[in-house]
Symmetry: C2
Amino acid sequence: MSDRLSRLFAPRSVAIIGASGDPSRIGGRPIASMLAGGYKGTILPVNPNRPEVQGLTAYASVGDLPETPDVAIVAVPAKLVTETVQQLAARGTAGAIVFSSGFAEMDEDGAAEQDRMIAAANAHGMRVLGPNTLGLFDLRSGFYGSFTSVFEGGMPSVGRIGIASQSGAYCGHLVSVMRARGLGIAAGVMTGNEGDVTLGDAIGHMVTDDGIDVIAVYAEGINRGDSFVAALEAARQARKPVVVMKVGRSALGGAAAKSHTASIAGDDTVTSAVLAEFGAVQAHTTDQMLDIAQLATRRIYPVNNTLGVITVSGGAGVVVSDAAEELGLAMPEMPEDAQKRLKAILPYAAPRNPVDCTAQVLNDLSLMGQFSEAVVAEGGYTSILGFLTYTAGSPTLSPRLREQLRLLKDKHPDRLYVLSVVAGRDRIAEYEGDGFSVFEDPTRAVVAIDAMGRFGKGFARKPGQKPPSVPAISLPDATPTEAEAKRLLGQAGIKAAPEQVCTSPEEAAKAAAGFGYPVVMKIVSPDILHKTEIGGVLLDVGDEAAVKAGYATLIERAKQHAPKARVEGVLVAKQLKGGVECILGIHRDPVFGPVAMVGLGGVFVEIVKDVVFRRCPFGIDVAAEMIGSLKGVSLLQGARGRPKADVTALAEMLSRLSVMAHQAGDTLQSVDLNPVIVLPEGEGAYAVDAVIEIGGGDGH
Amino acid sequence: MSDRLSRLFAPRSVAIIGASGDPSRIGGRPIASMLAGGYKGTILPVNPNRPEVQGLTAYASVGDLPETPDVAIVAVPAKLVTETVQQLAARGTAGAIVFSSGFAEMDEDGAAEQDRMIAAANAHGMRVLGPNTLGLFDLRSGFYGSFTSVFEGGMPSVGRIGIASQSGAYCGHLVSVMRARGLGIAAGVMTGNEGDVTLGDAIGHMVTDDGIDVIAVYAEGINRGDSFVAALEAARQARKPVVVMKVGRSALGGAAAKSHTASIAGDDTVTSAVLAEFGAVQAHTTDQMLDIAQLATRRIYPVNNTLGVITVSGGAGVVVSDAAEELGLAMPEMPEDAQKRLKAILPYAAPRNPVDCTAQVLNDLSLMGQFSEAVVAEGGYTSILGFLTYTAGSPTLSPRLREQLRLLKDKHPDRLYVLSVVAGRDRIAEYEGDGFSVFEDPTRAVVAIDAMGRFGKGFARKPGQKPPSVPAISLPDATPTEAEAKRLLGQAGIKAAPEQVCTSPEEAAKAAAGFGYPVVMKIVSPDILHKTEIGGVLLDVGDEAAVKAGYATLIERAKQHAPKARVEGVLVAKQLKGGVECILGIHRDPVFGPVAMVGLGGVFVEIVKDVVFRRCPFGIDVAAEMIGSLKGVSLLQGARGRPKADVTALAEMLSRLSVMAHQAGDTLQSVDLNPVIVLPEGEGAYAVDAVIEIGGGDGH
């Protein structure tokens, strides 16, 4: 059906069912737009009451159409939609764009009707955009399968950015802002109710569209994980940056979430993890999304991004450094000899990076040339930001400045060049035309530059390690007990804190040898509650002899202090003192399937929510990366004189858990390993508590 | 000298020492700007070589001036500055603006020369702006005591925003952005080296300037705490919002910081605390600063800010809700009956808040009127945001829309009205003229709206409680031992964890009664290292009888298990189990004097840096507010089934510490109480470890 999808986006002929002669009406606006936009295909209005619509021959019904259209725009009342779609599908129409509302967005009945309508279409292989959609448009071909009113305010420039949006009105907003900024648009798709064609399908199509270099996405909630994930991976492989504004950050996923992991795994958290997995960059505001899209059209995506800054204001240098540091964008210092040379040229300059060459260079632009050449050539930065503010807008200065900048760019064409300039639109267009992207606000420039590096990293990523092989585990039908859960996890190679009740010194010694030293030993008796007070707990028991002696001591103390107590034996447990508390978990996301979580435990997970998610399964390398990206990772790395924790063991546990969850099938609802104690390097990681939640499958 | 300061900012006559006939030169540009700007005062060029400068009579020397100028602009080489300033001061000039560079910004010699020059001025009561400053300008009077080139790109509108900036170049950037946005400027001051007039002086003057409603500040580092604090408090009392972009967030204060508290107390952290104390709002980007300044010119500052949103796009509603939630800006739901009524009018509407009235209302603007009237009147919100995007730019729609909006505003003039609109400048000016502030990006609109509420809160703040009375403590000359530190703190009413070595059951019982039950008892012997293993530790000892029995038990066990051990007695200590670890500290900031810190202890302070600072001294109410603003405060409030901690005791401890630090004088460098254990409600808070650092006074 992918051919049909392509025809939906770029049809050679379009029927409008419910065509209107009034260009401001829902069934009239697409026709008016196509006529004005120079659409080269055939436009076939369908209207039972009029022989002609907006100067075009109209047909009374779908059956009366002289040819089968590639696409039909359906703008009829909801109750007539299914029948119309059925007729179109039967005639072999490739795709329908259903404007009509009153379906799943309204109520249960509407949802059922939507299902029937989609089924009628798909039965003949027809794809449906909508219902309840503002449609799609392609500024290059002039195909307007949309009744958005945004184009009435003027046409945006035609360019190489595609927009995929779950909101029609917000897509209109984006178009209007891009028009005001002079940002070029190729096409836009608004997915409405996503009865059939999803946001992922729209993105996926844009990946295959050679006229689109950058995809800007507005998402409220992903409905289909498979097409979304496939589109993101296709974009990554095609080196097409996807910038996503995912809204609804406040909303939590499952209101009925029972597990700890699920309670943290909001819809937004999981979506963010999926975006990060494929190197898509998330934007938090419209400005940010469009800044990033704008800069991405330069198609320069540094893998190891470094920023060199040339500024005429020391203050601006500090502004830029602050922003870069917050994002983790590296700003290495200039080489020392270059600094010395620049300082000799201009004693007031601060040549470290930011390179503050002061307003002095504006009096002698050859100095500007020397400084910028030094920054680019000797600093070796992948990205260059020049803070020139209003000075670059000066009519006397800008021609000579442009000349210097062009020389620089010709000599080093592979860098990403950004300017912070305040000037009129025409002047800015000149710099943009020379290959220098312009942002008024230096902080916004830094955010966009940083995003290019994140795209670069995503594009360059090699396939990860193969996940470890984990034996298939047959889950019970109902939620197992803690002990049973630990046994099942043990089969997957996930170790619980080992402990054993022993009834002889020899058994105790054997158990201890199995766990590894040191061990803790405790008297086991239902009648002795305060073990410590009778000396009934031994810590740091370090070898076989000590275990055997300890066994005797404990039995002896029990006899002495509580002669009547029933003594059941001695518990030998691996001593987990000195470890770092973590939490590991699995949450079955309704859209993306099982996702694994790792975080620092205790107060960290409760208050700071310092956790990382990732779709299952994944290898140990990815697990280690996840752990490394925790804010509090220094706790595991030996911060403040602590021993380094066994991150390798933790990563293996996490990776194994992800494989287990992936293999488990859809009855596995969640896993909580909380806490997991990560011992010092080489000593392993152990789950102290384990909960596996089993539930009904949801069809994933 | 405040009269002199006023004359510096608004002189009736200006001499330019080093006047040039070339309007592009440093000594020429101020004259050209004043001539072009219609300055009404007397301009007195001083140039030994020319009888006339730019058409004005020039004088050969300061001595030759026909009158004593209010202000002299000094644009002569550095080596001539002090002599010139001395002459001017001797003649009774009120203020000098010293453009010349080569002073403290250069080297030690320059700093010494700067001190001499300022002393020469101040000896006669003359105030100095600079040296190394781009000067100041007042667009209302046409007084340009500045050689900034920004005005060559066109004049900004004259308005009611004042700019105080430590960077000349960045001030120029701000002016150029404001000019591009059409934001009105009253005056701007660039403080340069701040040899005399500081950023605080500049802000303070703007507070007294009736033509300035809003003060936008760019700061790199506060040099003088007293004038800055005084200016912020004056602004607060005058209800003039101060929005501050403080850069250099990455830089840490004392590189040689020894104490834990000092290591967290970076220059930026303390400045942020001072700004928050006076209700000044911190902006993180230029866009943000100017957005906030723009909206602040409406002079509506809600004390309990709530946001009601009317939108034609559900998506935009989510964007706005996300932003408001992140800022903690309340968006209460519409009253239920109002929701029902709106739903009845328009079934597709989502009337909760955001009130999504869908694009439908654009077809029938009376609906728009009904919806917005309901939101404003029935929702009762102090701030209203209308998301209208490009629709409000439509030439057919906007006149009728403006009519509806004006009706609304006339009926409810006390609200803060903001629109998110994409349109041309003229149309936006219309909405602005009607009293509706316009932002293109809805997220930016929310940030600005939130800031108005923060101003409102700051303006409304009543004086805090009187700090508790704390006896004067005489600090030793050198850093005291831990025990001595605890004793000194004890005099201030700050309790350390109480413990005592006792040598009889009676003494133990008395100590325990003094501490409060339960207590912990431990055998004290240099020969018994593993106390637990011989049963040498008793927990939860709950009453007098148990203490006495426990004493005997411990001595008995020591005898039995270690007959040769020297037993020194039994340690009785207040049991602090079940408490929450916090950290309290004092850091002497070189600019603002002693600041107190409170944070959650352990990993929180290490990794999350979840701490709050405040200048000393302050009352218990402020201390409680500080604790309440910690991110992890829920740990103290009984999160996850914990008992509620004794926040009252912690607040009192913090307040007492602040008073002690304030009274201590400048030899107190720092105090670290880490950890402080906060027990369950009613049980108190105790410092477990205490370090007081004494050092040389720094003159504060």
